[in-house]
């Protein structure tokens, strides 16, 4: 097996594992299908915007939950709701699911529960970021070796 085939095999296996482990769902596949030769960096650009969103919203949630005078759970919920929307739009399934749990603690006005969920959301975001960076690195390696990126359905 030559280097391109090896890299392509690695890419397919890694992609498959991202879906199997629930990091991404079919919406991410749909996102990848939108990319074409006119916009070769589309997925990387959208994912970068998503991670910027994540960081901003996680900071908002953390600041709101730190308030010793009284937590504004509506404010926390608004940020979680936004993150849930963006994560479902790019297929970031585990982040989205973490947001769903988070919202129920916001509704219950349970600060401890919210703090645990914030930790979970932050953890899922970090994991996903690493996984997608690995995926994009594999893509670059395939292209650099003269190959094309396999379509994984």
């Amino acid at each position: 097996m030559n280097i391109v085939n090896q890299l392509q095999r690695q890419f397919i296996d890694f992609s498959t594992s991202l879906h199997r482990e629930g990091f991404v769902d079919d919406q991410f596949t749909q996102l990848q299908k939108l990319q074409d030769e006119n916009s070769p960096d589309f997925v990387v650009e959208v994912v970068s915007l998503f991670f910027e969103d994540c960081e901003k919203l996680i900071n908002n949630m953390a600041r709101a939950l730190e308030q010793t005078q009284g937590v504004d759970f509506k404010q926390v919920d608004a940020s979680v709701h936004q993150l849930k929307g963006s994560s479902s739009s790019i297929g970031a399934m585990r982040v989205k699911n973490a947001c769903i749990s988070f919202r129920s603690f916001c509704e219950a006005q349970n600060r401890e529960g919210c703090l645990r969920c914030l930790q979970q959301v932050t953890h899922e975001y970090s994991l996903l970021k690493n996984k997608l960076q690995t995926l994009f690195t594999l893509e670059q390696q395939i292209l650099a070796a003269g190959g094309s990126i396999p379509v994984v359905d």
């Binding site: 650009e45 959208v46 998503f50 929307g85």
Partner: protein
């Protein structure tokens, strides 16, 4: 204007996808998320649509006030300054008859119904899918045929 149409619409006609692509329809995407604007822009352009984006409701209203017009407006609900329902009401008051479609992650049926009642023609859950776009293009073609 249809109320209570806040589910994914799957009633596709026998019109092929090739018939729907390459039209001159214009779309305004109103969403405060740069990521969502980029996503919708790319997705809609795949169908040959001409897309413009607005970062918030006030910009959308200003565009119409300056004389712009669009066949379709995709409207987010949760936005700063003016939310999607306020923008929709304002556009309808101004006499805008474009198809306005909510694209939202609102969970409560009550909230979605209230958004519809602001003047939407349809309302979809985020993320917007290919099936949603095909449905909207079919509805737009029907609307254009009725008006001509």
């Amino acid at each position: 204007m249809m109320l209570g149409n806040c589910a994914t619409s799957s009633s596709l006609s026998t019109e092929s996808d090739e018939d729907i692509v390459n039209n001159n329809l214009t779309v305004l995407v109103v969403d405060d998320s740069p990521m969502i604007r980029k996503l919708h822009d790319m997705h809609l352009k795949k169908f040959g649509l001409k897309v413009q984006v607005a970062e918030n409701g006030k910009n959308a209203v200003d565009l119409f006030r300056s004389g712009a017009s669009f066949n379709l407006i995709l409207m987010d609900k949760e936005m700063p300054i003016m939310d999607g329902a306020e923008v929709t009401k304002e556009l309808r008051t101004m006499g805008v008859t474009s198809m306005i479609v909510g694209v939202t992650s609102l969970d409560s049926i009550f909230d979605r119904q209230a958004f519809m009642e602001a003047g939407l023609d349809h309302c979809f859950t985020k993320p917007l899918t290919t099936e949603n776009i095909i449905f909207l293009l079919q509805e737009l073609n029907k609307k254009n045929n009725e008006e001509n």
